[in-house]
Amino acid sequence: MAKYKMHILVCGGTGCRASEGNLLYKNLKNEVKENNLEDDVQVITTGCFGFCEKGPIVKMIPDNTFYVSVTPADAAEIVSEHAIKGRQVKRLLYKDPVKKEQVSDSKHMGFYKKQIRIALRNCGLIDPENIDEYLAADGYEAMGKVLLEMTPEDAIKEMIDSGLRGRGGGGFPTGIKWQIASKVDADQKYVVCNADEGDPGAFMDRSILEGDPHSVLEAMVINGYCIGATKGLIYIRAEYPLAINRLKIAINQAREYGLLGTDILGSGFDFDVEIRYGAGAFVCGEETALIHSMEGLRGEPTFKPPFPAQSGYLGKPTNVNNVETFANVPVIYNKGAKWFSSIGTEKSKGTKVFALAGKINNVGLIEVPMGITLREVIFEIGGGIKDGKKFKAVQTGGPSGGCLTEKHLDTPIDFDNLLAAGSMMGSGGMIVMDEDDCMVAVAKFYLDFTVEESCGKCSPCRIGNKRLYELLDKVTKGQAGMEDLDNLRNLSQVIRDTSLCGLGQTSPNPVLSTMDNFPDEYAAHITDQRCLAGVCKDLIRYEIIPENCVGCTACARNCPVNCILGERKQLHTIDQSLCIKCGACLEKCKFNAVAVV
């Protein structure tokens, strides 16, 4: 049987395909065949390399030579020079833009690999249900170091020096948070892990708990030691059964190994962890509401101060950190604050995990250093927009965030830049939108979510958001006047300024940012009664284009309300009075004969 000596990998990602990657693949196969190398060299297509800008990409194995911007015409040279003679085709090598040197091996292309996995370091590598695998990956080493070699003060100082900021949304410096909690005197303190991940489209916390639960437990012990807490609580939504299950296994294993419980590692320090379930209310991601929910009360926020660090769970000092924040902690002690703070931007250190979703080719979870641009995330790691459509906006920060547009693509991503651009980091959901998305409808979608999730305690949020939603609804129905735009803005301002907690204070962000970035779309809905993206049902009409219709009856057969009339091989027409605008005809038509107007 054939044993290949060499493999030629051709990127089969959408970006590379668009630049003739398919033809290149065919040419390479032909060249291999013509040179009778079929038994020695295998040509295959791969998934996206995440370097679409320089596509099509070709990688040679086993020597790992990495060719960029390869055209179909280069196939012959690659085979004759590299595969047969073993010489690299120098002109196709990647040129380092800084050093101006050619780099042949993808391993040395630091620039190419845009992702650094710190919080996700073990996800996808170790078996989450086996503590030995975590231990083999330096697990619990940081805990040992902190408990046995460092004083709580030193450990807190290390955390402050690292510059780690809370990954749950607000971006509060983690070390400072620990310091405040450590300075309060109390007979009992608590460490709480906030795993109430609620942003639509965000799933990084779930992935960490499912892939690497021990890293969170380890960090909680360290946190407990630093602030003088002996009890840890993980508040996790009951909708995450797999994460809960793996956490339980991890807790039991850690107890068995003496890594949780009394006198951990002989240090004299006691710490144990319990799991508390949330019922999936968005507001319970807010720390005071979360604490109330854990106490068995309604999940409603209370005014800060007092901060949880002063009076939290059961009135005792409590430090609440998010899952991703905790997942960073062990690495910081293992590799040092200096190493951690060397990654990222001036005020935002380290990396951030983003959940890429929406109209993007490589939907998934990525971890990138702070300071990377949206362009790199969307067009390189994310592989660009689906179906070659045009990028319109990216929504970051979930219902509390805003939409960023083309003009923000080259802004380095960090906590402060996103805020300045009218959005926020949030927990790291990134929903990419293309030309077919209506921005008014997007704002309405998020507001619908906020209205649903408002706890109802304070009136600006409870009533204000409802009214805001109604105004947006008017716009999408073409019933609003230009004065309503001012109303939207004023009401947004009031809700933002007067709401009790973060939910209400940020809920108008999607409205304000879409109004700022897409004023024309709002105006089109109001003055022209038109939805440019063809989304808002009340403002669109499906029509049949007579020149293209062949009378195949596909649309009529699929219409759920039978409103399309016309005989076989005759022009069809849509009865607008019956049409429910479901779009089934548009989807089924193979002749581009249905249009949205």
Binding site: K3, K114, Q115, R117, C123, R206, E210, L365, I366
Partner: protein
């Protein structure tokens, strides 16, 4: 050594069936291998995904693995070291490098 990405996303797209298939088939075909589960690798668009490490070779990640593809992986890659269409290149840096 085969690692199957068994997070919610992977399981939802059939990772559990693929893992069961691999365990059974490797056994039947007398191939000495460890099948282990792991968390999400982040390639949600290509689930189920699995990573195969052959002795002395770098791990390779395969995407869109169903039972048929898993069969191909055993026959072609594990037995013969032949690569298959649709492997996912490593596009991140590990911290210990």
């Amino acid at each position: 050594m085969i690692k199957v990405a068994m997070a919610t996303c992977g399981i939802a797209s059939g990772a559990r069936e693929v893992m069961d298939f691999l365990i059974d088939e490797l056994d039947k075909r007398n191939i000495d291998a460890i099948v282990s589960q792991t968390g999400c690798m982040g390639y949600c668009y290509a689930e189920p995904t699995l990573e195969v490490s052959l002795p002395g070779r770098e791990p390779v990640v395969f995407g869109y693995v169903d039972a048929r593809k898993a069969d191909d992986i055993i026959e072609k890659y594990i037995k013969n070291g032949e690569l298959l269409e649709g492997i996912i290149p490593v596009n991140y840096e590990k911290i210990d490098e």
